[in-house]
């Protein structure tokens, strides 16, 4: 059996804090890899040891396979946790770890490759009888895209085969727009992922984003921890996530969870993963979107309702241990909702807002959890993404969780940078949210236009809402 005694945490920000905490709980020594910009960060203080792996620019530090693997070797680590983002879904990292005798805390390289390539994963899902949205395999040019688009009907979505985070993704309304959009999406995908391959998918007008948290150990056990609803999105970026996906009919949720387990089993999966689906609200059907072969930003909402520590389980299965529970042990209690607090100005087109956090006071109390790397006086660097914290609220049912969240958001005080908190405070009070009438277009098409209009009319809606 593999042993994990020392783990290199190859990430930063709140997820570095989260992994360091899980290592502590598992009795594992944590060594944090930091760039020069993060040497004085909170996770650098929380980790047992730190090693500087390169300059602030992520390309030469957090995105360098050589930098993170050599850091693990130099510090005598037997495991490497990639967190999310950065190198977490690069099969090259898993392979380099394997060659150097370091346990990669994630699925095997081959699984990352088969699950991470969107076109290959769609093909696999289809072969397993899992519904896949109407569309194509890899398209070679705009002419082929036009043929497929004509078949499935406009509007269509162009997506990057290697994609993620909405990059290389474009909605195309008409055939006239298609050639230009293919060129734009392909070059965007090439720039972001070094892979310009695209595929075409039918665009579902009223959809919910529903995903299933799955865990698998090396003893052949695959379990799921239920679903999450991540329909609150802006430009395909999640803003708010909930567990469970209580707006979706029970029978559909059961089928979705079953499909997720079938797919993960077929991938010879070991580790934690998420299978994402779109639910067509009008037709009451679902289709497979993609597999994420890493721990996700929104994993805490599932932890809150199941009481299972996903990152600790991830460390356990990486060490060859069996999962600490069985499917029949999984219970979902109440409802949890997570808000991403980003250093962005939501009223100014979500422009990034780095700076110094003069005041940083997250709320506390029963049912409230804040995952963060921030503190009063922290300088938010310009080099990395804008996530400052995740506020997670858990209640006995959805309404209780929403009420708690409204109070917690009001109490969350940040000064020095603009944040998405004022947006969340308005969003949580919107009647559509209470009634759970949300689709993936709701934030952009319903909520934001109304909120910005109200804000223009009334100078301080965030304050008066308090």
């Amino acid at each position: 059996m593999t042993v994990l005694n020392r783990v290199l945490v190859a990430n930063r920000g709140e997820i570095a804090m989260r992994v360091i905490r899980a290592c502590f709980d598992e009795g594992i020594t944590s060594v944090l890899a930091v760039s020069e910009a993060d040497r004085d960060s909170l996770p650098a203080r929380a980790a047992d040891e730190t090693i500087t792996i390169g300059p602030a620019s992520a390309t030469a530090s957090y995105l360098s396979v050589g930098a993170v693997v050599s850091a693990a070797l130099l510090t005598g680590c037997d495991g490497l946790h990639p967190g999310y983002g950065f190198l977490s879904e690069r099969p090259e990292l898993a392979e380099a770890c394997q060659r150097r005798g370091v346990t990669f805390i994630g699925p095997p390289a081959d699984t990352i490759r088969r699950g991470g390539d969107k076109i290959a994963a769609r093909g696999l899902a289809r072969s397993l009888g899992i519904p896949v949205g109407a569309g194509s395999g890899s398209i070679v040019d705009a002419a082929q895209a036009a043929t497929v688009a004509a078949e499935v009907g406009y509007p269509v979505l162009l997506k990057a085969a290697a994609g993620g985070g909405g990059r290389g993704m474009l909605r195309v309304q008409t055939s006239e727009e298609l050639p230009g959009s293919v060129a734009t999406a392909s070059s965007e995908a090439q720039a972001a992922f070094g892979d310009g391959r695209l595929y075409v998918e039918h665009y579902i007008a009223d959809a919910r984003h529903v995903e299933v948290q799955v865990l698998a150990d090396s003893h052949g056990t695959v379990v799921h921890l239920g679903d999450r609803d991540c329909s609150f999105q802006r430009r395909y970026q999640k803003l708010v996530e909930e567990a469970p996906a209580s707006a979706v009919p029970q029978e559909l949720r059961r089928q979705i969870a079953e499909a997720a387990v079938i797919l993960i089993s077929a991938l010879n999966y070991v580790g934690v993963g998420t299978v994402e689906f779109l639910v067509d609200v009008a037709l009451n059907t679902f289709s497979f979107l993609e597999v994420n072969t890493r721990v996700q930003v929104e994993h805490p909402v599932t932890e809150m309702v199941t009481g299972i520590d996903i990152v600790r389980e991830q460390l356990r299965v990486a060490a060859g241990k069996p999962l600490s529970f069985r499917q029949q042990d999984v219970r979902s209690n109440g409802h949890a909702i997570e808000f991403r607090v980003n250093a962005e100005a939501p009223l100014a087109g979500f422009t990034p807002s780095p700076g110094t956090l003069n005041v940083w006071a997250p709320p506390t109390g029963a049912g409230i959890r804040t995952d963060t790397h921030c503190y009063a006086g922290y300088q938010v660097p310009t080099h990395y993404d804008s996530l400052l914290a995740k506020l997670i609220c858990h209640g006995a049912d959805r309404n209780t969780a929403l009420t708690l969240a409204a109070h917690a958001l009001d109490a969350f005080t940040v000064e020095g940078v603009e944040t998405t908190l004022p947006m969340h405070r308005a969003l949580i009070r919107h009647p559509d949210v209470r009634d759970n009438r949300i689709t993936t277009r709701w934030v952009e098409e319903t909520f934001l236009p109304g909120w910005t209009r109200d804000y223009a009319r009334n100078q301080e809606p965030a304050e008066s809402a308090k």
């Binding site: 040497r39 040891e49 390169g54 693997v69 050599s70 130099l74 005598g76 780095p354």
Partner: protein, 174 residues
């Protein structure tokens, strides 16, 4: 910090076999800088970093104690920067192009690609000059009018402040 000779040996071996280009690792006891095809540096310093004395003495020629590394860190104090320059320079018909926000300066669309604008490049009005990346958002800066690039005042990938002059363009007819 558990850094022993074995760790250094493992890294040296991996560096060669994995064909990595460059790594630069700094721990409280050891600094290790390897560049493909180059063996640097070749000296071992006596460290004066508190606590470093207790670390295992590195014996490999490519290992140096990291006494100086933390001191070389660039100042993070915004007051120490020279601040925004005037956009118009007195008596000289030249466009000074400034950073729209703090962030990272990128001169080319992707690593290894030719720069958008180099000294001597003729630039049409509206053409892309450079990108300033802030928190993963790419802000593209365009040429205000047609001219020839006179100066590029900053290196690729360097940190810039809002308002800092990054490029100077001599407009046509000047």
């Amino acid at each position: 910090m558990t850094i022993d000779q074995d760790g250094v040996t493992r890294v040296l071996q991996a560096f060669e076999q994995e064909k990595w280009d460059e790594i630069h690792l700094v721990t409280p006891g050891v600094e290790l800088h390897l560049v493909a095809g180059v063996v640097t540096p070749t000296t071992t310093h006596t460290s004066h970093v508190p606590g470093a004395e207790g670390a295992d003495k590195p014996s490999s020629a490519v290992v140096t104690a990291s006494a100086d590394a933390p001191l070389n860190a660039p100042s993070e104090d915004p007051e120490s920067s020279t601040g925004p320059h005037n956009v118009v320079v007195q008596g000289e018909p030249i466009d000074e192009i400034v950073a729209p926000s703090p962030g990272i300066f990128w001169r080319s669309p992707s690593p290894g690609a030719p720069p958008f604008a180099d000294v001597g490049t003729r630039i049409e009005a509206g053409a892309v000059l450079f990108i300033v990346e802030i928190m993963k958002l790419m802000n593209t800066v365009l040429a205000p009018r047609t001219g020839v690039v006179a100066d590029v005042l900053i290196g690729n990938g360097e940190q810039v402040e809002r308002g800092q002059v990054l490029l100077r363009i001599r407009p046509d007819g000047a």
